[in-house]
């Protein structure tokens, strides 16, 4: 089930809230209802994968219990290996087999397994828990609590990646089983912001990006830049909107999850970008990969190597393809460069630093979005103007895709890009959703905005998409 779906918004979330708070006087039951609802949320996509997540939770809980009794490096290593093995089978096996085949010239039988939703997130969450138990920083004696920590539906599919220490105390609080108006109102407000970002803004950029990446070989440089910028905005609004919906829903259950985005496109260097983009992933990579590798404690060369290794693996975490590895490598290299540059004591002027960072991030997204390494190179050539004079101009290209721009039906075509323009203003000028929810007050203005935004977004969840080839 997705947050931006009728099922979630119209019955799942309201029903889960009602049942949870109705059982508030019996905290264990309330908690059990939330776990059960989270499993329904997960199983809605495909029931066959429920045993997978339940098995993963059971095995990790058992290993954690054993680690609580006696710290054991081999046992920890076994636990981590089991988690990575599960991830490897479902996410990376075919990538590995295909690459081996390419090297050896063989033709292997690919597994072609469907990637279980959220597997990267619940695997990392549990690895972090095992490590923390081994370090004596966490312990959880109750299976029900642990199961809820892993399955809690707001974070299950797309994060944030949670720390046991920041969640379990909240789950344990009896007062959190009763409705708290401040959290209900601010949670609803944040949920509405997230929906607007995802449904009204991100999905407006999507057809521009899709059309551009689909026709990169013919695009002029300005058209290619528009396509890449559209994707840059799409991925931000998509992911941060989804995260806002997650944080908003969790807040309605009186649970505060860590923020995951903090206006990343305002960053003036890549280091700052990674403090603002997918913050909980950065935190995980730093604490459980970069620092154990030695961090910055063994000289410049080793630090650079650690940064590169961390970001190569971080890239691979995003997807089983070389394009993601290259994307991670680019960011790792950029971090090394920034690190070396900052030691020179010659900071760039802020506007220049911002522009360099933004352009780098946008160009690196080409590897993240392209279907293959070859497609990425095609887009990079288009960005550089290598498609020459015969390429499609911006006007011709935008004219050609005008029909697929997702302007709400019934509005003038000229307004098709209005949400995109609004999105740009939000990214660079407005306070972000974190700040907005912190200063939230249940005023008439906010009430009108939310009451308008919720139906407006729900009405955009399903579009009547025509058969494109309708000559007949």
């Amino acid at each position: 089930m997705l947050f931006n779906s009728y099922d979630y918004l119209l019955w799942f979330l309201p029903a889960t809230l009602l049942v949870f708070f109705a059982l508030g006087a019996r905290p264990r039951l309330a908690q059990a209802s939330l776990t059960l609802a989270s499993l329904v949320f997960y199983g809605w996509w495909d029931l066959r994968y429920l045993p997978l997540i339940l098995g993963s939770i059971a095995v990790n809980f058992a290993i954690a219990r054993a680690l609580q009794r006696r710290a054991s490096r081999p046992l920890l290593a076994t636990g981590i290996a089991l988690n990575l093995g599960l991830l490897g089978i479902f996410k990376y096996a075919d990538f590995f087999l295909a690459n081996v085949a390419r090297l050896t010239g063989s033709s292997p039988q690919l597994l072609q397994l469907v990637l279980p939703l959220g597997i990267s997130f619940f695997t990392f969450t549990q690895i972090a828990y095992l490590v923390d138990v081994h370090r004596r920083r966490a312990q959880e004696p109750a299976f029900g609590n642990y199961a809820l920590f892993v399955t809690f539906f707001p974070h299950l599919l797309a994060g944030p990646i949670l720390h046991h220490s920041e969640m379990m105390p909240q789950f344990a609080l009896r007062s959190n089983k009763r409705p708290q108006t401040a959290n209900l109102t601010s949670g609803l407000f944040l949920l509405a912001i997230g929906l607007v970002k995802k449904v009204l803004i991100a999905d407006t950029f999507a057809p521009i990006a899709d059309a551009g990446f689909g026709a990169a070989a013919t695009l002029s440089a300005p058209a290619a830049w528009i396509a890449v910028l559209a994707y840059t905005m799409q991925i931000y609004f998509d992911f941060s909107g989804y995260t806002d919906m997650a944080l908003g829903a969790a807040r309605m259950f009186n649970i505060r999850m860590p923020i995951n985005f903090d206006s990343p496109y305002r960053s003036t260097d890549i280091r700052e970008f990674w403090h603002r983009w997918h913050i909980t992933l950065s935190r995980f990579l730093r604490e459980y990969l970069y620092i154990p590798l030695g961090g910055n404690r063994h000289g410049e060369a080793r630090t650079a190597a650690n940064l590169l290794a961390t970001f190569l693996l971080g890239g691979l975490w995003h997807g089983a393809a070389w394009t993601f590895v290259v994307w991670g490598a680019l960011h790792g290299l950029a971090l090394v460069v920034v690190r070396l540059w900052s030691r020179r004591g010659m900071p760039l002027p802020r506007p220049l630093a911002w522009a360099l960072t933004f352009v780098f991030v946008a160009v690196a997204w080409v590897f993240f979005r392209a279907a293959s390494f070859g497609d990425a190179m095609t887009m990079l050539r288009a960005l550089a103007g290598a498609n020459g004079a015969a390429s499609t101009s911006v006007a011709a290209w935008l004219g050609g895709i005008a029909g697929s721009l997702s302007a709400a039906e019934g509005f003038p075509r000229a307004l098709a890009l209005a949400p995109a323009v609004a999105g740009l203003l939000v990214v660079f000028m407005r306070e972000n959703s974190n700040a907005m929810v912190e200063s939230f007050r249940p005023t008439l203005r906010n009430g009108v905005l939310v009451a308008l935004a919720l139906p407006a977004c729900v009405l955009q969840l399903a579009r009547v998409t025509p058969f494109l080839y309708f000559n007949f």
């Binding site: 109102t185 249940p442 009430g447």
Partner: protein
């Protein structure tokens, strides 16, 4: 950096409670009002055949309208097929086959969708006859394959379950259509002729010159590229999508019609080595249905008088309204039936015609 968000500013609880209740009530009331309006206008005829306002058969939204009309219209004979049978009037079907006819054609129809349409129809009807015109390509690929240009399938409209109709009732696109219907706004492309809801023939010429225009005799597939056919996939698709419907409704007569593509299509099959697979699939369908007394196979593909006269076509596949009428007449009579005693002869005939076809001569003429 402080990762965990602090508490929001406190607000007086009663006021905040009122705010929460009022906002939710306003949002829910808005959605209920819109849903009720869409249900009342019902632009895709999901709950009733249009009566208050003239019906709108949207030129590219067959997949949204067809499930409603097959469930809610009154008919004795149902015609299902791809764009090649769109130019068939309901009155033609009824006039030839008796009773009332309904054309439920969809462009680029696949067997999966054809199965859904048939199941939607049988959920509320027991039609006397179903004429199912089938395309080879519709069976290719996975059993639930769909044409890449067909857009997302509104599956919620096919199951007859009003409890999952939120994407229909709470959709801005549908709201705009409802509003246009109520206000008489005719700015979008649709037909209101309930007798010929999907008709497009008036805007086309049916002539040999149209068929050969842009045709490359060395690569006949280039104009309408078709993927290679996979016999096993086709068999699976037939077994999964069509056969269960035939078997589940013994009281309905089914005419499975192999449509009269132009001979150029068979030339293309020869060029691409697809002749054997198509003929093998036809044989498979015959064998799979030979023990079902309510099923008849009608093979119009070897009828050279039609398929070799390219003036009947506007391109390789699409034939004229008069051929559509002839097709219905054939389905509702005993003509061109495939039986065990003519199966081999029909196979041979088709094979000979296909191999004898000379693409270069076609264009040179």
């Amino acid at each position: 950096m402080n990762d965990t968000a602090p508490s929001p500013l406190p607000a007086p609880a009663p006021a905040a409670r009122r705010w929460f209740a009022a906002v939710l009530a306003a949002a829910v009331a808005t959605l209920i009002a819109i849903g009720a309006f869409n249900a009342w206008v019902d632009p895709f005829q999901q709950y009733r055949i249009a009566g208050r306002h003239p019906p709108r058969y949207y030129a590219s939204l067959h997949r949204f309208v067809v499930p409603g009309i097959v469930r809610n219209a009154t008919y004795d004979t149902l015609l299902t097929g791809s764009s090649i049978v769109e130019n068939t009037r309901n009155s033609t079907i009824g006039g030839i086959c008796g009773g009332v006819g309904l054309n439920a054609a969809m462009p680029a129809l696949t067997a999966y969708e054809q199965g859904l349409v048939l199941r939607a129809a049988f959920a509320t009807h027991a039609p006397k006859r179903v004429i199912a015109v089938v395309d080879f390509t519709g069976f290719n690929g996975a059993p639930d394959a769909r044409h890449p240009l067909a857009g997302p399938l509104p599956a919620y409209l096919y199951d007859g379950n009003p409890l999952n109709d939120a994407p229909y009732l709470l959709s801005w696109s549908v709201l705009v259509k409802s509003w246009r219907i109520v206000t008489g706004d005719t700015s979008e492309r649709f037909r209101s002729d309930a007798d010929a809801p999907w008709w497009w023939a008036d805007g086309k010429r049916f002539a040999r010159t149209e068929v050969v225009r842009g045709l490359d005799p060395r690569d006949l597939n280039r104009q309408f590229p078709q993927a290679p056919l996979d016999l096993e996939q086709m068999k699976q698709s037939f077994d999964r999508n069509i056969l269960p419907v035939l078997a589940a409704h013994p009281g309905t007569e089914f005419d499975i019609v192999w449509p009269p593509y132009s001979i150029v299509v068979w030339g293309d099959y020869v060029q691409r080595g697809q002749l054997d697979v198509t003929l093998a699939f036809k044989r498979f369908v015959f064998e799979a249905t030979r023990n079902l007394p309510n099923v008849r196979i009608v093979d119009l593909q070897p009828v050279a008088a039609i398929t070799h006269d390219l003036d009947n076509y506007t391109d390789l596949y699409h034939f004229s309204p008069s051929v559509n009428e002839w097709l219905i007449r054939a389905a509702c009579s005993d003509a061109h039936r495939v039986r065990s005693d003519n199966l081999d002869a029909l196979d041979r005939q088709m094979r000979d015609q296909a191999r004898a076809f000379d693409p270069a001569g076609l264009v040179a003429r």
